[in-house]
Amino acid sequence: MASGFILTTTIFLPLVFAVAIFFLPKENIKGIKLVALSGSIVTFLVSLFLFFGYEAAMGGFQFLHKFTWISSLNISYFVGIDGMSLLLILLTTFLIPLALLGTWNSIEKQLKGYSIMVLLLELGMIGVFASLDLFLFYIFWEAMLIPMYFIIGVWGGPNRIYAAVKFFLFTLFGSVLMLVAIIWLGYFASTVPGGQFTTNLFDLYRIAPQLPINLQMWMFAAFGLSFAIKVPVWPLHTWLPDAHVEAPTAGSVILAGVLLKMGTYGFIRFNLPLFADASLRAMPFMCLLAVIGIVYGALVAMVQTDMKKLVAYSSVSHMGFVILGIFSMTEEGLQGAIIQMVNHGLSTGALFLLVGMIYDRTHTRSIADYGGVAKLMPVYATFLMVISFSSIGLPGLNGFVGEFLVMLGSFKSTLLDNRWFAVVAGLGVIFSAVYMLWMYQRLMMGPAHSDGLYGGHHLTDLTKREIAVLVPIVLFVVWIGVFPKTFLSKSAPLVKHTVEQMESVNRGSPIRFAGSLQVQSGK
């Protein structure tokens, strides 16, 4: 129980600092910035306790914290983390300070509100990854939409209102259906002998095998739609390029870095263990959408003229790998999917930071406005090079670890039993090199502009602050690429259990999802 407080502290620390900012005068720009940054750094440091305290060998959910919230409906504040939640929470707490520091001077209006929104967003995201009660999960899931809506809608680009509304409606549409499904699921729990209405995930894991298949299909669709929009799975992705282009840099970093993972996280946390039969049936369909997304996203990314749009479409492609990995339902595929979530957060987060840094200097995102920048900004060019190759999936850097495991998983999957998915996904390997290197070439190589002006501005190389933002990301890019064990070993127990469950369901003798074995220590 005591350890559970660390988790709850991590979740609500951003709120404490947000409140502190609320009481600061809005003229105190420096004070607001410092409080926001130190708040996010403190949150990161506290979350490190989770990382070092989580015992991967034991597996299951740890740091459980539970108290009753709405007793009549059996709803409680119930949080806890396993390896996957851990990695994603760490990713969140790691990226937020970098996003704040990386855009230190980018926000010019209403900084106070902006800083509060970013911290509230962090609270929502950590909450999503830690919730073990579906009702609580839903609250965090929805609550997080609001700050994101404002970040895009208030601090975004010229077309921000359209983008913000589109983002909001797309995601809300999905989540309303999920709410219906949650209530239905809770109600179903009360219909089994001796059951009562519940949204406790462990209880639901227990009764899940009794869900009739047609009900499972509906639930899979309701949850799945909500998650698929978030990922985004092709063809539900069109909100993403707009949202990214209009969002301020920090918004894009958080959106790409963390928000998209909530969708894929949801599939692994809820859809697979709760609706195992339905998941097995949906498997080829989901894999099909995944590989379409991989190829389609890459091809469309190739022809973009706006840097942010290019990176946005590349996200569609990369997240396709995550979906493919999940629905290969093999240890390789799921491990690859989970590490690919982290990788995409790091690489794409860094890419958006890099785009933001050069945009701050030139105020243009059009690729055609550049050329020969490497000569003027050699340090920037080096960072962009490393991150580009991380995104391309060069062995030795992080991207390869995820992509290769995913391809291997879907190739050898006996449940999927179709090797072509992996082969088509492999085409992404070629296309990602094309669009990233083409962009790199058009931005960095060739002769520099003769007047030295880009978008009417002179270029200066990265500042110490900007380098300080990028170096930690590059360190992790290399760390995961060379020694992924540190991270993969955390999620291994979850993956092993999930695959065992899926295979048992497929054999027709379902076993209960093993995550619930940890429930005793929570009560």
């Binding site: 069109t238 909100w239 022809v303 060069l394 062995p395 030795g396 291997l408 190739f411 993969l488 291994a492």
Partner: protein
């Protein structure tokens, strides 16, 4: 021994890290050059020590595996799940490759100290070169496919960085990108090949896979697919038809880079990989045939282009493609050790030729067109003599290095079970052209009349450049002696590596007696004719070349424009892909269809709302009327019911 093996790999990595992180602050060129070449030199020294240690033990004990740590795995502990180590395998083949990579690599590094003098990116150059060596060492020393692939992609990365080294120039960016992307097409095959290997053998370790494969029957379909997919990777990396197009463009990089790519690293990777997987290829006769045919055709095809090129480096580039074709021909006819032998001698003379061409370009102040040279032997005596030795070696004149290796390949092509006289004929034809274009190059560059401006004053290169040339020239002369027919030290040395494959192929020592010597005489004679013809035409009867051009303008243009293959790829693949992505996928599917539906449904809802909104007039009297009307309706309905 374990320590040495890891250190061989570590030194160049250290060099890269030190130069990459602190190089920009090092103002002293000498220090950078010393660091850059010193690390590779140390690796070479360690490799030599290791080699002599191996010589002292029995052949069966020469193979060693050094595991460093677990790299990629699911870490779930399940028995059948994936796991791969960073671990290095020292055996007869990998030590030979290591010696070539670090030895030739070291000489190229030393040469670069002089060649790159004064360049703005001096430190960057040596950092990339060190990384290149590091990647290549991983490739040749890996004990599993995935680590080999790390090196494989690593050399791709380094070639990208080094081809695009002078990034301000317009075409270097294109050339660098092209090199990486075309290689990636091959890598796609390699990756799928690895997936198939793992799902077949549950492992990516060489020892497990190869011993598992040895139990399979000839003509196994899975093995056929594996070998073809891996070969796709080899085609990309080793620049064979149809993926050779990146290599000529790669000349955009500094000349030492070309030497490194063509001689010691990168392009030899595909040949090495096929040799490493010899047992797999031996099990699939169809794949062997494909390898041999692609190799033979590439050998001839690239040579024809080499006949008419005017850029000194381009001629050498096509010659590399052609020579790699010979190596694959060797692999395809089951002459694995002959292929590796040729890889080695080729490394000597091709490094020599490229570095020599660099000295010429250096002296001519960046002129590369051989039509604007001539008579350079007076100005560059050392470069001329060493270049001439390289040319004789590649032409296959005994007793120079190229003769022994090429002749071994041709003989095996003729005599082995997998070979045929057609392939042999192609090989001999290619050899004749090789002799011709090389001596066209030598003659036009160094001999005859001076065709350049007097003010150029070409001068011989500094010692750091000429000494490596002389060493390489020495190797090009004597390097072939390790493979004299019927004594062949190198074949004997490599025997433990290739014997499982040879056993499957049932090929033994084929002594053709008089026939072998007869064919040898034919190929030497043909090479001599090629040399003589080139000298005669370009020294005495230059008008013949001109009149041939005029008589067959189409053929000439076809060759000069490299059969328009690049243009064809543009029209058939690149443009349609870009057009489809832009016009259809993005603008139609994304913007019109999907977003149209989204925005359309939003509009429909908006329109309904607009209509319904009219009811909300805000006039209280209207609401009262509707309210009363409603009550009346309900009452009436209840009464009538």
């Amino acid at each position: 021994m374990n320590l040495y093996a890891s250190l061989i790999v570590v030194f160049p990595l250290l060099g890269f890290l030190i130069l990459g992180l602190f190089g920009s602050r090092m103002k002293n060129e000498k220090l950078i050059g010393f660091l850059g070449s010193g690390t590779v030199g140390l690796s070479f020294f360690l490799a030599l020590v290791l080699f002599f240690q191996m010589l002292n033990v029995e052949p069966e004990q020469r193979k060693q595996i050094v595991t460093v740590f677990t790299w990629l795995s699911t870490f779930t502990g399940s028995s059948s799940s994936f796991s791969v180590n960073i671990s290095y395998q020292i055996d007869q083949l990998s030590i030979l490759m290591t010696l070539i990579v670090t030895g030739i690599g070291f000489l190229i590094h030393v040469y670069s100290i002089g060649y790159m003098h004064g360049d703005r990116g001096y430190w960057r150059f040596f950092a990339y070169m060190n990384l290149f060596i590091f990647a290549m060492l991983n490739l040749v020393l890996a004990d599993n496919f995935l680590l080999l692939f790390l090196g494989w992609e690593g050399v791709g990365l380094c070639s990208y960085l080094l081809i695009g080294f002078w990034y301000e120039k317009k075409f270097t960016g294109d050339a660098a990108k092209k090199a990486f992307v075309v290689n990636r097409i091959g890598d796609f095959g390699f990756i799928i090949g690895m997936l198939l290997i793992f799902s077949t053998f549950d492992s990516l370790n060489f020892s497990t896979v190869f011993s598992g494969a040895a139990l399979l029957t000839m003509g196994n379909t899975t093995i056929l697919w594996i070998t073809l997919l891996l070969f796709l990777g080899a085609i990309g990396k080793s620049a064979q038809i149809p993926l050779y197009v990146w290599l000529p463009d790669a000349m955009a990089g500094p000349t030492p880079v070309s030497a490194l790519i063509h001689a010691a690293t990168m392009v030899t990777a595909g040949v090495y990989m096929v040799a490493r997987c010899s047992i797999l290829y031996a099990l699939s006769p169809v794949a062997m045939e494909v390898v041999a045919i692609i190799g033979a055709i590439t050998a001839v095809f690239a040579a024809t282009i080499g006949l008419v090129q005017n850029d000194i480096k381009k001629v050498l580039a096509y010659s590399t493609i052609s020579q790699l074709g010979y190596m694959f021909l060797a692999m395809g006819v089951g002459a694995f050790s002959a292929g590796i032998f040729h890889l080695m001698t080729h490394a000597f003379f091709k490094a020599l030729l490229f570095l020599g061409s660099g000295a010429v370009i250096h002296a001519m102040h960046d002129e590369q067109d051989i039509r604007k040279m001539g008579g350079l032997k007076e100005y560059l005596p050392i470069t001329y003599k060493t270049f001439l030795i390289g040319a004789i070696a590649i032409a296959g004149i005994p007793p120079f290095a190229g003769f022994f290796s090429k002749d071994e390949i041709l003989w095996k092509t003729f005599s082995s079970e997998q070979g045929s006289w057609v392939l042999w004929l192609l090989g001999v034809f290619g050899a004749a052209m090789t002799a011709f274009y090389m001596f066209r190059l030598v003659t036009l560059t160094f001999e005859g009349k001076r065709r350049f401006n007097h003010h150029l004053h070409p001068h011989e290169a500094p010692k750091t450049m000429t000494v490596p040339l002389m060493i390489l020239a020495g190797l090009s002369i004597v390097g072939g002696f390790v493979g004299i027919p019927h004594w062949s030290g190198i074949e004997h040395w490599l025997d433990p590596v290739f014997s499982p494959a040879q056993y499957k192929l049932m090929s033994g020592e084929n002594s053709g007696g008089i026939l072998e010597y007869l064919l040898m005489a034919v190929s030497v004679g043909i090479a001599a004719v090629g040399i003589y013809a080139a000298r005669w035409v370009y020294l005495q009867r230059i008008e013949i070349a001109a009149s041939l051009q005029q008589q067959y303008p189409r053929v000439y243009r076809l060759l000069l424009n490299k059969y328009y293959v690049d243009e064809m790829y543009d029209v058939v693949i690149v443009e349609p892909a870009v057009k489809t992505s832009e016009e259809i996928l993005w603008k139609v599917v994304d913007v019109t269809l999907i977003d149209g539906m989204v925005n359309g449904s939003a509009k429909v809802i908006g329109a309904i709302a607009q209509t319904l909104r009219k009811i909300q007039t805000g006039v209280v009297q209207f609401y009262a009327v509707v309210f009363i009307g409603g009550i009346l309706f309900v009452i009436t309905w209840l009464l009538l019911k």
